[in-house]
Structure formats: C-alpha cells, structure tokens
Symmetry: C2
C-alpha cells in the first residue's frame, strides 16, 4: 500500500469474503464505482443496473457460453453499503474451483483482487466508521469469548470514539480561547481562565488514566488470562488441567467448526478466556544445570502470570508446610490461589489457610468453586469504566496524550505563556485524533489494515 493507498481507490476490487475451503456457499464481494457495471457483464439474469439497493437477484455467472455457476447477487447502491461504494455480493456454490473461476473472470473484466482489509479501509476513508471502529472489526472477527466479543462490539459501535471525541471537543474549545489571546497578545488579555483550564485538563487526564488502567485488564481479556498451574510432581496438576479443559471443550465443541488450534490449553469460564500455562519444571532446588534452565523459564512464566493456582496434595501437606511453600510465590504480581487436591482421600479435617480451595480433581469435586474463584480473581481487576482499551496503538496514543496533558498542567502551574500552552494542547489533540484516525499516515493505515483478512 504505502504511497499508493489513495490512488488505488479508483479501482473496483473483489475478494472471497467467506473462509477459504469447501462449504455450502461462498460469498464474493465486489466494491467500487464500477462494481455493478462489471458484475452486470458476467451476470445473466435481470439487469442489475436497473435494480434497487438491498435487493437479491438469481442469475448465472457466465463466461461466454460457459456457465460458471448459478448465483444470488445482492445489490448495495452507494453510499448505502459497507464500503460506501457500489457493492455486489455474489453468493455462489462453496467450491474453491468455482470461486476461483469467478474471481478470475472479475479480474479479466477490470476488477483488482482486494488487499487485506481493503474493504474496511475504504469504509474508513469514506467515513462510514472511524479508525478505532475499523480496528474493532478485526477484533470482533478474532473474538473468541463473551468478554473479548463484548469489548470489540462496544468499540465497533463507536463508544470509545465518542468518548475520545468528547474530550477533543472540550480541549479544542480551550485551545481556541487561548489562541484568541495570542491575537490580542499585546493587550495582555486572558480569555481563557487558567483555573478552568486546570480543572478541565485534570478531569480529562483522570479519564485518560482510567482508560490506560483498563489496558492490562482489556489486553488480558482479549488474549486470555495467563494462568499458571504450579505444584510439585504428583500433586495432581495434570488431572486438574484435564478436568478444567475437557469439560469446557465439550461445551465449545457443541457446534462444529470451533477448533482453536493456537492456544491448546485455553478454556472459558463465564465468558472469560483463561490461558493455562504449563510449569512442569518447577522444583525448589535444581539438581543440575539443565534443570536450572527449566526452572528459570518457569519463573519467567510465573512473572507473567495473572493467576497462579498452587496445587498441593492435601494428604501429604500440613498447614505449616503450605504457608512455607506459598512464600515461593510472594514476589510475583499474580494472584495466588492455593488448591488442596485429593481431599477425598483425607481421613481428618484439614485446616489450611482461608484462601485455599479444596478439590478432588480426579473425582471432579470442588471444580465449580475453583472456577468461581478464578472468575472472582479476574473481575477484581476489572476497571469500572465502561470503555476498556485492548489495542496497543490506542494505549500508546493515550499515553502520549496523558504525558502531554501533564505538561499542560505543569505549564499552567508555572504560568507559562498562552502560546506554549496552546502548542501543548494542540499536541494532545493530535494524539487523541490519532486514535479515531482524524490524523493518520498511509504507513499507519497500511500497517493496521494489513492485519485484516482478505475480503473484509
């Protein structure tokens, strides 16, 4: 993309919009000023150019006398389409061969194969959605749990952009007042009350801090909560892992096609994805150099964990021993949940610390309680702001805004000139505008949209 980003926009583009592979149907999307005209050449049926927007027409896609497929053509007349351009969606049989043939025909008739995310890029450039909404589209498609879905949906529906725009409007007003002062600078008038500015900027800075604080939570939700199961060998780690995963897998696989290969040990409770991390190597004392490396890695994982489940054999552990063993984890930022396993084999009543959850992983006892504790551990971290940041780019732009606003606050404190204040406020506005895409560069757009799938 790069420098050609905008010059490409005159092309009419096409792509397969459904996942590749064999299925009942496939959808090919064509968008651009000539979309209807080009499809009309290949489409034998009604004259698509004479049809109303948002109507569906049965017909044949032909290459001369050769019939490629019987299709349904869905018509979207500009600007009433996803991209804001003329768009035709061809619903064809779900054969890779047929889809290929239709795309080749379109290309022969002056369409170009779309780049990843190019339909959404056009929607953004045609102001059908702002940049944070466009990014949310990709998040929505990638969402795989109720919580990550909720955050992406909220962002796509514009909640985040609206909050950013509200802050911008308030800052713009003040910037204008200050710039007005500059015009009258010889008269030494102060149009913008410094105290009011102080209050406003402080409020906005606090809001932004909330958003920044939500990032860790949001990011964890989006990528799954890193959850380490630690414990001595034979404490029942693997049995617990299986008990947690298998149950949830069964639910997930109720409907075909939900395979999630990337994170093998992920499972969902109450819409929150937990990412189980293996620390088989953990022992208190290494016997040799190789085991030491293993322990080092385990410690790295512990360092990054949000939750540590420390599983121990209840039949072999006293309350005093547990207290001692838990000290190993005191230096980590994670929430530690002690899990007393094999409690079904206990002959006496145990008295471990209050935090301890008693289970028998083998017999599936106490699993509901443990799951509740996992959810509580996450929700404890939840920020009460409606909007949650999940995108590193947004986080960085907000961080820059916060830093600049701090400079504004310092400036007011030091009673620096309106000229310098205005400069800093404009800088803060610039960073906020980056989020919604009011200011942007071709490189940034290319970078964002290249991560989309083709056809979106």
């Amino acid at each position: 993309m790069g420098a050609h980003l905008h010059s490409d926009l005159n092309d009419t583009i096409c792509a397969l919009a459904t996942p590749a592979g064999t299925g009942a149907i496939g959808v090919i999307r064509v968008s651009g000023s000539r979309a209807i005209e080009i499809v009309n050449i290949l489409f034998k049926g009604k004259d698509l150019a004479a049809q109303a927007s948002h109507t569906i027409h049965f017909g044949k896609i032909t290459d001369g006398s050769r019939i490629i497929d019987e299709v349904l053509a869905s018509l979207f007349v500009a600007p009433k389409s996803y991209t804001g351009e003329h768009t035709v969606e061809l619903s064809c049989h779900g054969s890779t061969y047929i889809q290929q043939q239709i795309l080749q025909l379109l290309v022969q008739h002056d369409c170009r194969l779309a780049k990843p995310g190019e339909f959404t890029l056009r929607a953004f450039l045609n102001k059908k959605l702002d940049l944070s909404q466009a990014e949310a589209v990709a998040d929505l498609i990638a969402s795989d749990s109720a919580e990550s879905h909720k955050m992406a949906m909220q962002q796509m529906r514009g909640g985040f952009g609206a909050q950013i725009n509200q802050m911008r409007t308030q800052l713009v007003n003040f910037a204008s007042l200050i710039e007005l002062e500059l015009d009258f600078s010889e008269e030494d008038v102060e149009f913008a009350a410094r105290e009011e500015l102080l209050v406003l900027v402080s409020q906005i800075a606090a809001l932004i801090q909330n958003l920044l604080d939500s990032f860790n939570y949001g990011n964890a939700i989006k990528n799954g909560i890193p959850t380490v199961i630690a414990g001595k060998p034979n404490a029942g780690k693997s049995t617990l892992l299986n008990a947690l995963i298998n149950e949830e897998r069964a639910i997930v696989s109720d409907i075909a096609g939900t395979t999630r290969d990337t994170i093998e040990e992920a499972f969902v409770i109450d819409g929150i994805t937990f990412r189980l991390i293996d620390t088989a190597g953990i022992r208190q004392h290494a016997s040799d150099a190789i085991e030491e490396i293993g322990i080092e890695r385990a410690f790295e994982k512990l360092q990054k964990a949000s939750i540590i489940m420390y599983v121990f054999d209840a039949t072999l552990t006293t309350a005093e021993q547990l207290t001692e063993e838990l000290k190993l984890f005191s230096s980590y930022p994670a929430i530690v949940i002690p899990v007393a396993n094999k409690t079904d084999a206990l002959t006496h009543t145990s008295a471990f610390n209050q935090e301890t959850v008693s289970i028998s992983a083998k017999n599936n006892i106490g699993m509901e309680l443990l799951k509740q504790r996992l959810v509580v551990a996450v929700r404890k971290d939840e920020i009460k702001n409606d909007i949650i940041i999940t995108n590193l780019r947004h986080y960085e732009a907000l961080k820059h805004t916060a830093d600049t606003l701090q400079q504004v606050l310092n400036g007011i404190d030091m009673r620096i000139s309106g000229e310098l204040l205005a400069l800093d406020i404009r800088k803060a506005l610039f960073h906020l505008a980056e989020i919604t895409g009011e200011v942007t560069t071709d490189d940034l757009l290319a970078n964002i949209f290249s991560k989309f799938c083709i056809g979106k």
Copy 2:
C-alpha cells in the same frame, strides 16, 4: 434420518452455510415455516415479517440487551427460496464465536441444527429439483477442474433428468397401451404394435448404453485420470513429475485458499485433472521378497491406470530396447505413451517409434507436446453423448434398466404375453424413476444427503 425423514420436515432448521473458520463474513441459513418469525424475535431493525422477498435488511442480532452482532438479513419468502420454504440468511462477522452464539440463540428459539444436506433434501422434497440435480449440487461443490465442473453443472441444470424423463414418457405410453390390451384380453386385441415397441425399446436401450459407456470417462474426469509414470531408476521420472506439477501448481495458487491436500500429485491440463501415481518400485526382476511385494503393488497400480507414461533415458536406449521394454505394458488396459527423456544430451538423431514424445524434463523442453498427448489420450475416450454419467448410483440404476429392457426385447422376440411385457416395462420405468427420485426410499435419501456438507 431413516424413518424420521419426513416427520422432521415441520422443524425450522439452521446451520452455518459458509466454511467453518475465521473470515470476513459468515452466513447462517435458517429455513422452515417459522424461519422469518423466529429470526424476527432476535433481529432488531425492521420488522422482517413485513418485508418483501429477496430484500436485504441491516440490523442487530440481540440476546436481551446484549448485542451479538450487526448483521445483514436476506429474506426469501416461500416458495421463492432454495428450499421452497421461508428462508432467512444472516450475514454476520466471520467470527466462530459469533456464529456459535447466533446458532445457539436460534436453537433456544426453537430452531433445530440442520443435518448434512437437509436444505437440499427439502428442496428435493418440495420439488425444487429432482434427485439427480440434488446429487449434482454436491458434485458441483466438490468439482475441482473445468471438466468435472462442466459435468456437474450440466447435471444440476437438469439435462440428465430431462433425458431420463423423455425415455420414461415414451415407455409409459407403451406400457399404457399394453395394459389396455390386458383389459380387453378376452378379445385378443393388440393395441400396441410389437414392431413399434421393438424399435422404441431398442432406441432407448442404445441411449442407455451410451450413458453407461460414458461412466468410465465421467468417473475418471470426476476423480482424476489415473496416470502412472513408469520407468527405470534415473530415467528422469521425478524431474518429469516436478516439471508437470510445479508449473500447474503455480497457476492454481494464483488465488489464495486453493490448497488441495488430498491428492498431492494432481495437476490440471485443459480442464482435465490427471492423478499422478508413483511406481518407484518397478523393476523387471525382483532381487528379494520385499521388492517382489513392491513390484506386485506397482502392477496393481498399472492395472488401474488409464495412462502409462513410460519414461526412458534416450541416451542409453536403442529403438530395439524400447520395443522390448514396452512389451512389459502390453497386457494393461492403459494407453502407453513412451517418453524419451534427456534428448538434449543426444549427439545423434534418435529414431524411436512414432508414438514416442521427446523431452528434456530438466530443461523443460517438449513438455507442451507431452501435455497435448495426455489430453488427446483422454479425449479419445470421450463419449460423444452430451450427458456423461459420473454417479455410481445412476450407473447401477441404468444398468438395471438396460438389463430389464433386454428382457423386454427378448420377450417381444419370444412373443410373450402383454401381461409379462407390461411387467418388465414397469420394472424398467421403476429403475429410471430411481435416478430422478420419482421413486425413492428414506434410506436412499438419508444415504445420499448424509454425504452433503452441513448448511447445504
């Protein structure tokens, strides 16, 4: 399915119609008498029940206050739909999570998840297409070359069914005349001229024989032409294989998502799929028992081959040697193409037999000629009938018809009674009707449609 096939038809069914996995969009199909009503409950936007058929509506799928997705709902009002029932297609974001959520919501609101092929089964039962057309839908989706696509398309468009029905009409007329005779049997009247019947049945039997003859070709086209590359070690077999495959692969992979894992060594020339079969083990004399097994297997492959390319090193082989070596293949039904390799290294002009194609696989010389020869070898086998049989079920029904018609011909010859003739003609009609599905059983339907993908 089985006995419940028809009783299930009152259900409103739903399924993902696009391939599983993450993509730009996914389409969920809902069909049945309550399809519009049920989707309307979940759909926030216009009242779908008040909209015209073949229109598209933007809205949200919600579960109470929770927004699952922003979707486009395409409306098809019975009988103007694929199934002949009310149908709604929901085009949602291509997230597995979202698709799962929407399907779960539909199931909660009294939809049932569709069985494989159930939409097409309903289309058949509602007489939107005959059984051979329904079968062609699955063939069309599985088609992966121009020829297999052409045959499936023709069958789906009803060419085959029309030909069958024409034969049936002619036979029905005669059967009626003969049965009329039976009513007047005491009067010994002959309404149906035996000579006319003889001509008609002979014509139909010839047509059916044409169709039967086309099966081998059609089946080979559908599944790929089994093509064995044979030759001594170092003759250049692998180089030839790579030269043939790589070139064509490049073309196939112009468009993403066309990976075809099942037959690794398949390639397409002029729309015909050739399935290359490895016979590395072939030598004239086995040195031990294990090699003997290898040779046995190679011979099995040669037995099943339609084409054998016999590759030999032109620099090491005389015309006499070649003639001798080719004798090895004389007992196989395949067409043998002698391929003289390494001809670029020849210092003299060679004089192999006329059939021999001279190439240099390493330097890509002569490959076009070889490909033309492969295509000619296949087309030679092509039946000049417009309709080509590819389906074993059709083949068997036609075979039964042909056998029964032969009995009719014998019966006429032996001047058997009209009663017995009518019985045989009815039997032939029954077998023809099996093809288009005029007569069928639940088990047969279950068997046919269980091979479809879900959502079709």
